[in-house]
Amino acid sequence: MTQLTQDNSTGFSGILGKICLSPMGLAGLAILFLLPLVPPFNQDYMIRWLISGAIVAAAAVAFDFSAGYLGIVNFGYAAFIGLGAYTSAIISNKIGISPFITIFAGALVSAGLGVLTGIVSLRLRGMFAICFTWFIGIALMGLCLKLDWLTRGPLGLQCDGFFEGNSSLPYYYLILAIMIFTYLVLGLMIRSDYGLAFRAIGQNMEAAMTSGVHPTKYRVINFTMSCFFAGLIGGFYGHYYGILTPELLHTQKTVEVLVIAYIGGRSSLWGGIVAAFPFIFAMELLRSSLSDLPGINLIIYGVFLIAIMVYYPGGVAQFFKNLTARKQRSTSSTAQKAKTAEAGV
């Protein structure tokens, strides 16, 4: 509903606003587009890091779509990613269709399970809903291990790539496109009446019901969308790395996405994208430069996570919100003051 309260913004940023982007966001995307062409980021390993970042970013956006707005943390999220990945890989392996088509099949299967989960978990709230999704994740991972005639279990399922050739660059642009697609679709939904319904249900179910919001319908829609994109991202993951193991469905992977989404800032969607890239780079650099002390990067990660949650629970989104709030305050004061303020900075 933000477009209603920001109707006064006109011109270019107004048009951008209609598709959920701000000038700053557009600039950020442009940077992401150009980054792999500029040294030192044009090296293949950097592009791989960028791809990892984009995967997590896209996953965090779709995760935040349920967790941030509906208030239901899908703790089995990695299992939905994995379901999409495995479905896509199995179909493309067995029938030999292009992965570009099968990732959508994977996404649909994930979405299907999302519908079921949404319906079944309807009566559950709070921690019970979280744990319910978690159990679905654990059960899926168990199935993935045990149904080895289909998934090859722990042997790992190999999948074909999207592109021939050795460069990671086309993969990067593909996942970037998926990420932007995810963000735009989910962002537009949040801006529509759907978003209003999600937020109403997430904040106060009973009040939402007495205001006429149909909780079943919107919870299921939300879950379906979130899981659809999880499946889509999973499909990319499989066809990019070329191998899938049941570990992909592990709770640990959910935690990785969840941490990014929360550091990015709850119910912002874009926060996850902003947080993901620097975070992945920092983690990889830490891991690589402290390779004599394996695990110390994870300790730093844990300390950072706790510190964020205790001292800055709003995450990156809060940071930018404060920034714009300060900017507005300074522009609303007299021009003279603003000038001195600018000079002061």
């Binding site: 722990p154 042997l155 790395y241 070329g242 570990e247 920034l323 900075v345």
Partner: protein
Amino acid sequence: MVCLKKLFAFGVMLSLSVTIGVAGASAEKVLKIGGMAPLTGPSAKTGQEIKQSAEMAFEEAGNMIGDYKVELVWIDSQSDPAKATNAYAEAVERKGIQVGLLNWHSSVAIAVMDLAAKYKIPHLFGIGGSSVINEKYRSDMDKYNGYWLKSWPVPQKTMTGYVEFLEDAIASGKFKPHSKKVVIFAEDTDWGRDIFAGAKKMFGDAGWEIVAEDFLAQNQTEFYPLLTKWKKLEPALVFGSYGMPVGITSLIKQSREVGLKVPMICDGLGWAGEWYSLAGSASDYTLDMIQKLATDKAKAWAANYEKKYGDKPSPSSGGLAYDSAKLFIKVAKRALEKTGKLDSESLRQVVLDELLTGKITYSEDEGAITVSRFSYNEQSLPDPAVGVDDWYLPIIQYKSGKGRIVYPKAWAEAEFHVIQ
């Protein structure tokens, strides 16, 4: 605005540190070796042992090969193929490794193989043994040839020893099974799946009746239900492969607690150095198939390792990593001798021309501590050749924490005893 500036400064620092990393080359002759092992994650223990053992081997060579200084760059595979590929690409591009060495997980191998071929980095002697690697390797020999080599053959090739041994024990009257019922178990991993398939066929062919088949989770510790179930089936033999120290030792301990008194073949029991401190006397009379570690050199190595790092090394991860590193040094020396330089290209050439054709081998006499001889040939690729004179694992029986070879006859140190 101040915050934005800080953010910008952070970004600049980040990119600076990256560029510095790239520009860190020096004039000295250096061979950068990317050692890969799971240093964090569930298999970190194994990874650590691989790392320490390989480092020992290079230290013994003074960290020099000819006039080249050896620089070991450790790549943490994190037990995750996706993360491993990221780390690998970074190691190649940013840290400039010229050759890869070792590895543990087969899933990691599958993902990293493509990178090795892509960057034209020969990656030698990955330990992870499962057949998926062979399948992938054999599916595109041109692409992977010389870029991926294993130091542990697929388990099916070596396991036939168990059946030969059993037939022999029965024939000689030492083992009188009351029936031909066997229980088979395996860890639920790529390795376990592989060995399980092999064992099923092997016992089936030898006329055994398989009364139970179970896959065990990686760090499972509760086996009372399973063991009591087995006990009811009254098998004459329990056979399994389970490389997880916690799991296999719990299984053995609890099998004695519930009173399951049948000969047990616990393949993988000895993989972790500390197995006896966990299993204790319950492990007496269990059978295992493991790298010999029988020669004086091997014992000296194990003693050295324990002195240096404080815990007992495992012959299967540490020992093999040590041997692999030694064999690598041999290959590298030959490459230097032949071409006068050490880089990816020269190493690969020697690997293709001499190692894979069987010209370079590494045998017990030269100091190999785990097997009789490492040699590769056209048929065995990407595995080492298997045979009593090549890569072969003896069957040993434990008593009071010591393993004694009971088969093959030629190597036998002790008689086989059936548990009473």
